[in-house]
Amino acid sequence: MADAMNSVFHTKGITKVYTTGEVDVHALRGVDAELYAGEFTVLLGASGSGKSTLLNILGGLDHATAGQAWFRDKELTAMSERELTRYRRDHVGFVFQFYNLVPSLTARENVALVTEIARDPMKPEEALERVGLTHRLDHFPAEMSGGEQQRVAIARAIAKRPEVLLCDEPTGALDSKTGVQVLDALERINAEMGTSTIVITHNAGIRAMAHRVVHFADGGIAEVVTNDTRIAPAEIVW
């Protein structure tokens, strides 16, 4: 095992089987993984390779069928529903492909949704400022572009000052220009706040901005690559 102090996530033999009708789908087949504090990690892999499933389990959104997963020294796979809720509330920020903003709440209110229940949140305005949306505070999701909506989602995710930021295809629904803005925001937060960031993507170009890249295939980790030099989001070939 690597330096425990430095490890945020650690899994042992994580397996996930979905049963739909008469078919068992093995989404994860005994994954052992190690993710480090402060790192910007990219999970790469084809659709169905298991990366989203792993992210969901690490984020406390889903249960593993077998195996163990730890967040620091806490075993996620042993937590009750209540403890998982607590864990998500206190430690994890999520960013989804389809933003998942509440349509009936403005940008500020969508962020407030989190700051109201977090232990030591920043102000919604500050979080929105960090993603460059000071001018969009009182707009409803329907009044904003996709990139703006995703940045609201990022602001919402970081407002609680999470230790980990989990992003599932954050640029999947965006064009290259707005995608760069979103990646820029993620990169800045990782650098300025030291938030461990895990980004799932189809886009192989994004791997160049990560500290480490984990390749998934058929429900397992195929390869882990550490980047010696990282490039800025703006330089990514889309």
């Binding site: 984020g59 809720t85 999520f94 998942n100 969508n110 109201e116 977090a118 919402r156």
Partner: protein, 787 residues
Amino acid sequence: MRALDKKLVRDIRRLWAQALAIAAVLSVGVMIMVMAFGTQRSLTETRDTFYDRARFADVWSSAARAPKSLVGEIAAIPGVARVEARINQYAVLDLPDMADPAMAQILSIPGSGAPEMNALIVKEGRLPEFGRRDEVVVNEAFAIAHDYGPGDGFSVTLNGQKRDVRITGVVLSPEFIYTIGPGSIMPDDERFGILWMAEDVLAAAFGLSGAFNSVTLSVTRGTDLAPVRDELERLLKPYGGTGSYARDQQVSNAFLDGELEQLDVMARIVPPIFLVVSAFLVNMVLGRLIQLEREQIGLLKALGYSTGEIAAHYLKLSLGIGAIGVLIGWLMGLAASQAMASVYVEYFHFPYLVFVQRPSVYVISASAGLFAALIGAMMAVRRVVGLSPAVAMSPPAPTRFRRGLFDRLIRVLRPQQPTMMILRAIGRWPLRAALTSLGISISGAIIVAGLFMFDSFDELLDVAFVQANRQDAILEFAVERPEAVLDAVANLPGVMKAEGSLSIPVRLHHGHLTRTIGIEASRPGNDLVRVFDGDDRVEVSPEHGIVLAKRLAGHLDVGVGDILEVEFLQEGDRRYRVPVTGTVAQFFGLSAYMDLETASSILGHAPRLSLANVDIDQAEREALFAAVKASPAISGITYMSEVRKGFDETIAESAGITMTVYTFMAALIAIGVVYNSARIQLSERARELASLRILGFTRGEVSYILLGELFILTLVAIPIGLLMGYGMAAGMVLSFESDLYALPLIVTEKTYWRAAGVVAGATIVSALIVRRRIDRMDLVAVMKTRE
């Protein structure tokens, strides 16, 4: 405000039409609760206060002529608190403002100046002075009907002597909150009045000096009435006692009780129907909303909101809708109970209204309303909030349609694809379809249950006035007369036919069951007044048997062939064993019928009559009235066509309002259910319908797919609703049944058509509203949204 609560407020605002449709249904339930309980409370309180202040009696009895010395003995019966002996007579009135004779019940005012029990509330003027032969006070309803006040006068025939009297005052009495003349079925304040005169004046007129023929008593709290009444009857028997009765058989009080009972039934039965429907609507609408917000729920979970917090959010939404309904219901209920109570105060003659609003009614109705909303929400919420966030955030799997039995059935019909879609949707969600249908059918049932009463009244009037009571008028004799009196009656001007009957107070015994009633004894050949068995056949009292009203037979638990023991109250303790030879359908009162000859021989005298039923030549009406007013022997006249007219008018008055109210309530439910179903269907199937439009289906065809299902469900719902309505009507007939009257259970085709029409109309209106939304559907936007 918390962000989640802001979402709540905006959700309610966005869903306002659906929220309002639900709140409206809920509010009716709350309104009826507040109104019926409020009115009932106020009326009960008013009655109790009035009874208490006026020292309303507990027991009544009468005799032919009892000496005043008996009063002391009556007062000595254990438990008796107060006794008042008085004179009670009936008399014909000749009013200056009316050609028809009117009738009055006359009561004495004791020498002390005012009755000690059943105290009179003087509204105007003063009570008659002792010894003043020409002074009377009248009940307020009679005074109002004739616009009489102190100083006005009319003539009254007291024991055959016509005399002019002057009104000194107008009063209200706890004994006559509801005034109804003998033989009548509706109050007729023009033709029936209550008069009070000084006791010495009445005693002199009726030869009752030092005697009384009516007595009322009150007992100390907690006294068992049965032994008191037994002892009272024993004491009065030698003096022609005719049995006793308690408050439950005192006409005015019994009618009032009946009305309070109806309010109670209304408050207990109707609101739950509306609350259940609104719970169902909340469940339906919220269920759909939650489906649509599945991803948001997953997101909130991902953000760290607990299942409880999320569930609470949606429950709050339902509570918001519930609160709107409760608030509207409260306001409507308060206004309605105020209006109802003042109508009752007019209808029943109370001196004042004690309008009580119990906070508990509001608390209970609000709890019930919110509870209904919560229950509906809980069932909807439970399904989704339990999902793990990862599952919640992924869209639900496509609905699985199976090739089951129903599907095979559908395919046998070989419908076109749109119809196939409709039928498959019903087959796929049978429970939802069934509940929707049930909701619609409830609305039909409410109309049937609300309007059947008019059908029943029609039947009742037909039986009462066309088939059974075919006489034009009833003439009552001041004292029982030998049968030969019929010749004299027949000789009165305008009388074409006269038949007599004798009413005999009796007590019927069967095992431990007893009832005190009046037997009507008449000749078998009589034709003006007839009684019918259940199959519309005329039942004739046989020589040695007794015929009972069906309800009476029920009370005594006897059937045809059983033996009843009959105790003739004027005759002695002896009980005669008489076989029950028939039962008859009867809607007013509890009567029994015997052969006049048989009854008279038991009583040990030649046949006598207490009243004559007559057919009248209308052309000579005036002459007959003049003769009746002048005749000393006749103490009362009931003119049947007037009774019927009064009944018709009262029904016509309430029919319009009742129909509007029930139609409104039913339409609310139907629209609430249909509109919400259609909106939900639209939101669920928007993509599907938009695809069809893109494929080239017309708006009409697309609307057919969506609304066709609702039309089918409505078609199924209507007959079910009519059946449920019939069942509810049967329940209401049972619950309204009392000693005083019973309603026949009749629902006519017209009522069924009306109910079906309202339901179909409400469905069409709701469909049209939703149709406009289909027409305006933005195809591109719908296809772009992610489901």
